[in-house]
């Protein structure tokens, strides 16, 4: 049947609307049927009630649908309005800004130590030196990371680049020099004693 034989241009809107409604009804019925088939198969195959547990647990974990509360029943913007007093500067800070503020205030976070180091570096380059470094020291009194960096730098220069210990192949060779460690006394006789069993 060709479309030309059917003159649909003479139709008014109400008929079209009726047809559209019918099509919708058909589609909804299809959806319902689909659901019925799914459920029926699930019942006959035995997996329909599989995701249910005992009544108690069902009640306990039921989805919560109240305003101001998430689906677990927890209040999620509880900390929006609370304010905390900073132990360092005694200011009252909003809760969500508290952590970053503490970071800057105590000078302990990743960023604040970076900023401090940059300031030190630029403070060494430009001859503002004294006052700046003192200020940094005061501000970084609690800053363990800064102190650790100082220590780390010290350690590196302590190692002797010429020490025979450096290369692993020399590990068992008994150099008269012995291992160069900070606290060891190189002239102690026990070094010589230790050498003996390894002598070739």
């Amino acid at each position: 049947m060709k479309m030309e034989e059917m003159s649909l241009s003479g139709l008014d809107n109400s008929k079209m609307e009726g047809i559209a409604q019918d099509i919708l009804t058909d589609l909804v019925e299809d959806a319902c049927l689909g659901l019925c088939f799914d459920v029926h198969r699930a019942v006959k195959q035995g997996y329909f009630f599989l995701d249910d547990t005992d009544q108690e647990s069902m009640k306990e974990y039921e989805i919560v649908d109240q305003p101001g509360v998430d689906i677990f029943g927890q209040v999620y913007n509880q900390w929006k309005n609370k304010e905390c007093v900073c132990p360092n500067c005694s200011r009252s800070i909003a809760a969500s800004r508290f952590a970053p503020h503490l970071e800057k205030c105590l000078g302990m976070g990743r960023n604040s130590s970076r900023i401090a180091n940059r300031r030190i570096a630029s403070g060494n380059n430009t001859n503002k030196s004294e006052s700046d470094q003192e200020d940094n020291d005061d501000a970084n009194d609690n800053d363990w990371s800064y102190g650790a960096e100082k220590k780390a730098k010290k350690r590196k220069s302590d190692k002797n680049p010429n020490s025979p210990r450096r290369s692993k192949s020399l590990k068992h060779k008994n150099a008269l020099l012995g291992p160069k460690r900070r606290a060891e006394n190189q002239e102690s006789p026990c070094v010589l004693l230790r050498d003996e069993p390894f002598s070739q």
Binding site: M1, M3, M6, L8, S9, L11, K15, M16, E17, I19, A20, Q21, D22, I23, L24, T25, L27, V28, E29, D30, A31, C32, L33, G34, L35, C36, F37, V39, H40, V43, F48, F49
Partner: protein
């Protein structure tokens, strides 16, 4: 066959041939799941099953018990959206 039903048949045929009916079905299915319709009806199914007994429930039981409620529970927004698409199709392909 009256002219009306002939015309409806033609429209339905076109709907299927162009794949639009399948698309509309998928759209409706997605929307109904989204709005919780499917879960509501599933809960209703549980009642029907408990009534008829797990072993004896038939497809007919479910269909008879579910379809009227299912038709009523479709939210208006979903209906409107589907109708818009259907009307657009009709306007494009049925005149």
């Amino acid at each position: 066959m009256s002219k009306d039903s002939q015309m409806r048949a033609v429209i339905n045929q076109k709907l299927i041939e162009m794949g639009e009916r399948e698309r509309l079905k998928e759209l409706l299915r997605a929307k109904l799941i989204e709005c919780g319709w499917r879960d509501q009806l599933k809960a209703h199914c549980k009642e029907v099953i408990k009534e008829k007994g797990l072993e004896n429930v038939t497809v007919e039981d479910l269909v008879a018990g579910i379809t009227p409620k299912g038709r009523a529970l479709v939210p208006d927004s979903v209906k409107k959206e589907l109708l818009l698409r259907i009307r657009a199709f009709l306007a494009q392909h049925a005149t």
